[in-house]
Each structure stands twice: as C-alpha cells, then as structure tokens.
Symmetry: C2
Subunit: 418 residues, 2 copies
Amino acid sequence: MNAPLQTAKNAIDPLKLEKLAELAVKVGLQLQRGQDLVLTAPIAALPLARLITKHAYKAGAGLVTALYADEEATLARYAHAPDESFDRASDWLYQGMAKAFANGAARLAIAGDNPMLLASQDPQKVARANRANSTAYKPALEKISNFDINWNIVSYPNPSWARQVFPDDPEMVAVEKLANAIFAASRVDVDDPVAAWDEHNSNLRRRSSWLNEQRFAALHFTGPGTDLSVGLADGHEWHGGASTAKNGITCNPNIPTEEVFTTPHALRVEGHVSSTKPLSHQGTLIDKIEVRFEGGRIVEARAARGEEVLKKVLDTDEGARRLGEVALVPHSSPISASGILFYNTLFDENAACHIALGQCYSECFIDGASLSQEQIRSQGGNSSLIHIDWMIGSGEVDIDGVRSDGARVPVMRRGEWV
Amino acid sequence: MNAPLQTAKNAIDPLKLEKLAELAVKVGLQLQRGQDLVLTAPIAALPLARLITKHAYKAGAGLVTALYADEEATLARYAHAPDESFDRASDWLYQGMAKAFANGAARLAIAGDNPMLLASQDPQKVARANRANSTAYKPALEKISNFDINWNIVSYPNPSWARQVFPDDPEMVAVEKLANAIFAASRVDVDDPVAAWDEHNSNLRRRSSWLNEQRFAALHFTGPGTDLSVGLADGHEWHGGASTAKNGITCNPNIPTEEVFTTPHALRVEGHVSSTKPLSHQGTLIDKIEVRFEGGRIVEARAARGEEVLKKVLDTDEGARRLGEVALVPHSSPISASGILFYNTLFDENAACHIALGQCYSECFIDGASLSQEQIRSQGGNSSLIHIDWMIGSGEVDIDGVRSDGARVPVMRRGEWV
Ligand SMILES: [Zn+2]
Ligand SMILES: [Zn+2]
Ligand SMILES: [Zn+2]
Ligand SMILES: [Zn+2]
C-alpha cells in the first residue's frame, strides 16, 4: 500500500484537499463547538482524514474518533477465514456508534473504496457478509437515515478506485484525474467554496420548493426501455442540498450533491424501467438492469451483468423489492457533463435521475420528524436493511408530474428541467 | 507519514515480521477457531496488523476488527482542540470493546507508539486526557486485567519510536536495529519460534512454582538507594509466561516476557526504593524516581526528571499510591543484556525486577477467578485506574524472601537467581 499512497499523495493538490476537508467540516457537517465526531475512512484516505481531524478540532470539536477500514484486511478475510466468518459483523462497534450518535456526535464518512474489490469473490459469501453487516449497522444507520444527527459523506481519490475509473492511465495520472474530478464536483476548485455552496444550495431549494407546491401524486418516466409511474408517498416532501437534522443543525449530507429527492409510495409503482448507467454494488458491477413493478413490488428483474448479485439484493428482505427514493438530476449536471463513470453512488447518482431500492428517508415527509415508523409506513414509506440508488435518467428521458385528478405537468424533457 | 513507512518497511525483515505475526496469534493468543479478535494498533504498524489479520483468519478467526490510533490525529488535538476536549474520551468505543470481550472476543494490541509524542504538550492537558481515557477504558480493561479473555501485546518498530531508541542513527538504520531487537527479544529469530516459546514457558513455570512453594510473606529488596520490604498479598500466586485465562484458553499475554510476578499486599509495603531505569509514561520520561512507602502508601516521591507528571500519576486515585504488582527478572535476561533502553514498558519491564503502581491482577491469587472484588481487596489486592510498571532491579540489587516467622531465604544476589 505504501507505494500507491506515496504516488497518490504527490498527484493530489494539497491546497484543494485542505479546502475539501474544511468544506466537509464547515458546510458538510456544520460541526458545532463541543460536538464529538465519528469519522470513518478507508485507510488509504489517511491524508484527508488527518486534515478533517485538524479542521474539526479547529471548529471546536470535542473529540474526533476515527475508524479505518482496510481493503487488504477484507481480502485476507475472503482468502483465509472459515466459512462461518461470513455471517459475522462487528455488532459491538456499530452499537457503540449508535450510542455515540444518541449522545450527540456527528458522523463523517470518507468514501473512496475500490468499487471492484470483491468482484472475483464468491457472491454467496459477499451477500452473507453484506447482510450480516447491514443487520448490525441498522441501529446506527437509522440515526443517519432518520436524520437525527448532522452527517456528511465526502470522497478521497484512493489509488484502487482511481485505477477502476481510469483503467488506461498510469496510476499517478489516474489519481490526479480522479482528484481533480472530485474537487470540481465538490466545488472546491473555486476561490470561495463556502460561497459557491451557498449559491448551489439556494438553486436546489428553488427546485424542491416548486415540486412541493405541485403536490404531484406520481411522476411518470418515459424513455428507451422505460415506461414507469412512480407514485409519491402521501405527505411526501422534496428535499435537496442543505437540510436541517432533528438535532437542529443544517448540514449538507452529501458532497457533491445535485439531486432533489423525495419518498415514493411503496405500494404505488407500476410499469417497467431500464437503468441508464452501471451500478457498482459492493464489489460487483450490475449493468443494464431491467425491472417490472406491480403494486410497488419488483416482480421481474434482469441485468446484462451482475444479475445474480442483483437478485440477491432483491431477496435481502421484503422492502428490498420496493422503492425508498426517487430523485431528479438534470442531464446537464456538472457530474454528468464530466462524462466520467465513477462506479461510486455518491457521484453517479448525481449524474442522472435515479430511484433507490429499500429504506426511505423519514425527512422526506411533511413533519417527518414527528411521525412514528407506523405512520410513515401507512403513508407509503418503505422499510428495508438496504438503500441502493440506481440511475434511470438520461438525455432521452421525459418526466411528467401527475396530479391526483390525472392532470399532467411537464417536469423534465430530454433530461432537462422544463 | 508515507516516507517513514516506506523506509521502515524496507528496513524490516519480512520473514521475521511474518513469524512474529504467526507467533502472536498461535502462542500469544492461542486464538480459537470461531473466536473473534479485537486488534488495536498504531496506524504506522499497518504491515504487522495486516499479517496478524491474515494469520488470525488462517487460525479460524470469526471476525477480526482492527482499531487504529494515529499519532498525527493526537497531535492535531493538542494543537487545535478546545480546552474541554481534554476531558473527553470515546466511552462508546470502549464500552463496545467490553461488550465484544464479554461475547468471547480475544484482544491483541500492537505496541510501538512514539514514547515522547506528548513530551512538549501541556502536562495538565495530558493528565486530564489520560484520566478521561482511563475512566472510559476501565470496563474493557477489567476484562483484560481480570484475565477473563485471552489477550496479547506484541510490538512493531514504528519509525517514531525507533528514532527515540537510536537517536544517533539515520532513521532506516534505527528502524532496522529496533526491528532486530524486537525479533530477538520475541524469540522469532530462531528456526522454530513456537518450540523456543515452549521451552521458555517451562523455564518461567519452574521459577514461579518454586516461589509458590516458598509462600513468602514479603520480599526484601536492598541495593543503592533501596531498602524496601514488599509484603505479598494473602493467598498470592506467582505467575510467569503462559497462563490460562478464565475462558479456559492458555495464552502468553506479553511478547516478549521474562518476568515472574505476583500481587503485593496494598497495605504492607515499607521503606524506600530508587528506580534503576527511566520510565516512559505516555509521552514523558520520568527518571531517577525515589519514593518512600508507609503502610503500603507512597508518602514521599521525587524524580530527577518528570516529577510533575509522576505526582499527577500518584494523584490519579487512592490506589495509584499503592502497589499492584511485584516482578522478578534476572539481570542477565536477554533484554537487559541487549543494553537497549526501549522507552517501552513491554520491553523495559523485562530487563529488570520491577514494581507496578495501581491495579493488581486477580489471576495472581490462588483461585483468583472465583474471588469477588471484595475478597481480593481484603487479601491485599490493590485497585486503581492505572497500572504502571517501573524498574527497581539491577546487577547491584539483592532480594531475600521473608517467611511469616521472619526467616529469610536468598532469592536473588547481584540481580541473579540464587
Ligand atoms: Zn439520491
Ligand atoms: Zn439514495
Ligand atoms: Zn510486570
Ligand atoms: Zn505490570
């Protein structure tokens, strides 16, 4: 790992990396004086983790606790561990994280894992390990997905990821290209990133406010291989950009972000849809997905690549076959315009309209913070161990808003806001 | 960090490092098939952590969870964090570790931090941070000090540590020298380290069996600046080398180890004693300690260097002024013979007879596993947040065993077993 790290470090603009760290703390988290921070990162992202730690303390953090994941350790497990290992997870660690969040800590995750790390491993073991991990992580994840706390995800150009994104370049060039793509998409390649994010957040707020005024009953997507009606949850609310967590702190959970999104109705999705970009799911590439919904449930699913993994994902639990999110992103978004396939949801979901299988966000309901799990379910909110976004938008997709009386309002044409 | 890591890696014999990892898993932990492992390490020890992870899985580990500490993050805290940060600790993480141990996980710690990391920081802040950390760590540490689980500490030659031990050498030479000293002391520079440890363990068992037969009431140390009677706890038991944890697994908690040790009586220590080697305590060097005991309690304490830190240590709690361990190591031990001052207790305590301030080990009582905390206390076992070993043996120190009738038996003369 040392040589790649060395290479990587020299290929990454140190000033922009520092701006990214500062942005993650100040805009991503809005970390409060005295607030603790739980930071998770791949070990190769150590340079960014250190800068984030520094800026968190400068912002008055109480205590920063960093948890590092190591791709080499994961591969050692697949190579050497006994079969029963793949049903295990660090329950105690995730329960501890949930306790930290309950006690007021914020959460910052550095993304940047090799998206193909487990591509050649036994898909049964991968699925079992993911399932065990998702189950153990649920108490902590709920505090994030229920938006109890301020949280943020930001990315670091790990060499193992850069090699996947730019396979034809030498590693140092790949890392440099990925670093610059991350800096551009995260808006830290400008003089004043904080001001740029203020403007960006107000643009996203304008879109979500318009959609909230429309109170559509459904969105209708049409395009090549797609004729899909996505019913929206009763009392759904559109969000985008900065948003206020239940602890009262307004944060930007994703850096970058280009989407406005809400909760579909788990029982009211009909028709068929084709993916428009490959989905990289925990080590496997799933491409050219085609699914058909009846009564909100996926009743047919195919993929040209990774179909076995897709079917395992759908079998995770009952909610895995239903939608928890629908999101609108213009085809002209900067990430889409970059033409780069990142194999990373944080970026790829911001290049196109998308839907997500699985868990909904309770914040995407009017007064969501005060609704019980039962109320959310009765209004159409889906529940699952998983939340997996996949891209269904492109320059060839049209979207209409459909009112409860059947009236249709054009929302997007050829992938752009009307 | 990258450059030192790079340098370090090339200076460390990869075959011996792998033998050390295998020894830590097989002899140090005796890790069981299906047993989980909690691994803690400085981030610079990543190469050894990865090899230990591999050998743990090869031995059938259920799940290995690694927690990394980063010296740079610690320094960022001292440089930038608000004052209130220094009373914080990751309670949730330590409580999680305690839960993991309660559920059957083993614990392996890689030592090798820069012993002088905090030497130039505000001693008040260092003391507060240590105290907060000790308090938070207590539930997990008790499972270790009560020997509920199999555990092990092993060392890695971090560059920041090597520079302290060999300050006159270029870093690469320092790392190579420290690596070779660790390999020699850990007995992995032989063809069959497991066989070497079998023999070593049986030698230590012979010493502790003899001491257990003697049933001394006290040990009397005499030497330059030392005239100290250390009463032994009622029902004390000597241990050394491999030992059986309450979970039934026989492990070697320390690699290396040269000591046989037992529990003194917290109320029956009288006289004065001078340290024979400097003590490196969490970033500060404490040298030429002179203390006087009355009724088991330190009533006078001086040090030529680090006296302020020593006094803070003694003020941690009531038990910090009393002894929790007395240990015998011949002056001719291989670590002593190396002539190296490691600034690391794991090594330096195995170069000389020593005593420890603070918490006792309940295993050092006959039937210790079945004794309550109250019984241990009534037999003379000490209790404290701390356990700090310091060296009082040398080639000039004599030790007598004293029976309850006052009869004296020579135990060591001029630092060697009689
Ligand atoms: Zn989304
Ligand atoms: Zn999503
Ligand atoms: Zn000892
Ligand atoms: Zn000790």
